[in-house]
Symmetry: C2
Subunit: 390 residues, 2 copies
């Protein structure tokens, strides 16, 4: 008989990453009768055309696209990504291509954070960031977001009181989930704090091209270059299914990040990088997609907001979305996690606010995605949600 001296046991990192509420929800919403406002699926079908298919055939006709590539990434794509950054201009040598911006975030955190290191996030924050920080065993301080973004006075107080974060992770432009845009004044103040206390500022900026008005400057305009990291992605306007993102940052961070990337997966798909490079450098094509998607999302945000106001009245309050893909609504009373089973029973799904924080969850909020469903479905979903509220 075998003498089992060790039983199966997983690492601390694996044990710390919580199961995602979205994961569990997506399992529930696989039921076709449920209208999902829960996912964050871009309307890729709406802007679908033959271009990606044609370019994919062109790229794969070259056997070099099927070969190994460098860990740094495909040079023309790095050059393009650097070109999207101005004020100050960016050097392609400081750009790395990643398997989506989620990987960029994971690599930045693994490059900077040892267990117990302090990290600042917005409250609420992107749930993918919460998972990465849980795996890294970061000591997370969540600073509330108001209508002008993260509360800089509170952050300044915490720093003055001794908080010494390794990094501050923000999605300051049409934030997921709150939709908030950080004010220009606070962006400058944050840069001053980064300079004074010495911490990396990560600007996760996937929704920049999906604003209903011109976007604000990027965070990096006000942050010292040695502390400034910017994440970008092809997921929101081009195609999430290609998993192509990028990270720009100072050499002291990007060089060790590259070694971790090599250990993590050698390099990002050569074929996907070449396909994205061909697509984004096609004159006017990407811009056209962004314009069509933004018009669609603006329209859908309006449809959902009107339908919610009509059906739910003062039981839900929210600011009109200014861009991105999400409407962040507050319950007049009750808890969103309690509302969810009733909503699912009536055929509508959403993400409870509690998913967007590691502690002190904002459970009086719900995140509603307006990007995916058509007008009629959005109205039906609002009616079902209102019925569940009763």
């Amino acid at each position: 008989m075998a003498i089992v001296l060790h039983r199966p046991r997983v690492s601390g990192a694996a044990g710390r990453v919580p199961s995602s509420t979205i994961r569990d929800l997506l399992a529930l919403t696989a039921d076709d009768r449920v209208l999902s406002l829960a996912g964050g699926l871009p309307a890729v079908g709406h802007v679908h055309d033959q271009v990606l298919a044609d370019l994919a055939a062109q790229v794969l006709a070259d056997p070099a696209a099927a070969q190994y590539g460098t860990t740094e990434g495909w040079a023309p794509l790095r050059a393009w990504a650097a070109g999207t950054l101005a004020d100050p201009p960016a050097d392609p040598a400081d750009v790395r291509i990643t398997h989506g911006s989620q990987q960029a975030l994971d690599l930045v955190v693994r490059t900077l954070v040892d267990p117990g290191d302090a990290v600042v996030v917005e409250h609420p924050t992107y749930l993918g960031a919460a998972q990465v920080l849980a795996a890294a065993d970061a000591a997370v301080t969540a600073v509330p977001v108001d209508d002008d973004g993260i509360d800089i006075a509170r952050l300044a107080d915490a720093l003055a009181a001794g908080l010494r974060p390794r990094l501050c992770y923000l999605a300051p432009t049409y934030q997921n989930p709150s939709g908030v845009v950080m004010s220009a004044e606070r962006r400058i103040q944050l840069g001053g704090l980064a300079d004074r206390y010495g911490f990396v500022v990560v600007d996760d900026d996937p929704y920049r091209d999906l604003g209903f008005a011109p976007p604000p400057p990027r965070l990096r305009a006000g942050v010292p270059p040695e502390w400034s990291v910017t994440l970008g992605t092809a997921s929101k306007v081009l195609a999430p299914g290609l998993r192509v993102g990028w990270v720009h940052g100072p050499g002291w961070l990007i060089d060790p990040l590259t070694r971790l990337k090599q250990a993590a997966d050698l390099h990002t798909s050569t074929a996907a990088q070449r396909l994205v490079a061909e697509a984004v450098t096609r004159p006017g094509w990407l811009e056209g997609r962004a314009i069509r998607l933004t018009a669609l999302y603006r329209h859908r945000a309006g449809v959902l907001a009107s339908a919610l106001r009509r059906a739910a009245g003062d039981r839900l309050t929210f600011a009109a979305p200014r861009g991105g893909m999400f409407l962040w609504a507050r319950l007049a009373r009750g808890r969103a996690t309690d509302l969810l089973p009733a909503a699912l029973a009536r055929g509508v799904a959403f993400v409870p606010g509690a998913a967007f924080a590691l502690a002190d969850p904002p459970d009086d909020h719900l995140r509603l995605c307006f990007a995916t469903l058509g007008d009629d479905d959005l109205r039906t979903a609002a009616d079902r949600l209102a019925a569940a509220l009763h």
Copy 2:
């Protein structure tokens, strides 16, 4: 003036991952005048046809291929990967699709290993594994490989003396770099040790379809299912540039691994997974590629071996390769790291054996890739290497 209280500093994990010798070499071999036996580039051009391009166009014509997918992976591809495993049969529910098998390895290690945990590897071992284990701060025990694979008696002694590894990582079939095939007897013995002491056995098996004779059974045939992990990849026969691999293992490991994968990059490229699924399920096509590549590699291995025997004589000794992509040669005298600058000066590159171990490096060896270059280049490379040996 700014008072910088924190200076830039990277995490322990980032600091521990060494710069790869291959990375540094690839920079040198970008010079067209250098014939590279250093890289491990499959001869994708040799088996190139229009099929991948046609399938890519077909896949990308469906907007669903551009959309987000599940972290677990595309179900038809998981089913296919499970189907490549027999004795015992595998359940697709226990398969996850990863961004190459390098990511699978990184995720397995992150799921199992806390800093300081013991891990057993072969000596020499795959350098990508060495990087992953360095990042994880594993306490690595390297057990020598002889002509029958890892020295099981030595491993048994170490276990009896108290070694308690979390996992044992092996590439037992045409190992990179040594080319060795682990004997059937040792495979069964290893399974017995895993059962007795309770540790995960990782069978990294990329070269299985590139053997010059029928391959041995997989390790999992002799390892208890709860301790058995198998890695697979589309990189060696299909296309490394697509970055599609997979991992099969027990639920207690695969479930938390899935949460780490979600944090790491959400999911593997939808488009790449669908493309690979279409390609590998095309009747006879993948098998045809494997047959053509194996015949080519067998021929090239013979060309390189003959040229080395003729040009270098007894200054280099090696066993005839039995499969895979590498010839592992031993220097009669001197150190491979000392030989490298002379070889580069004469226009030939290789990887010194020292790259394939974390400690006690086998610096009397060189790894020579016979997969990439054509016959004339292989002969010229052998002549240049022999000249450098003088």
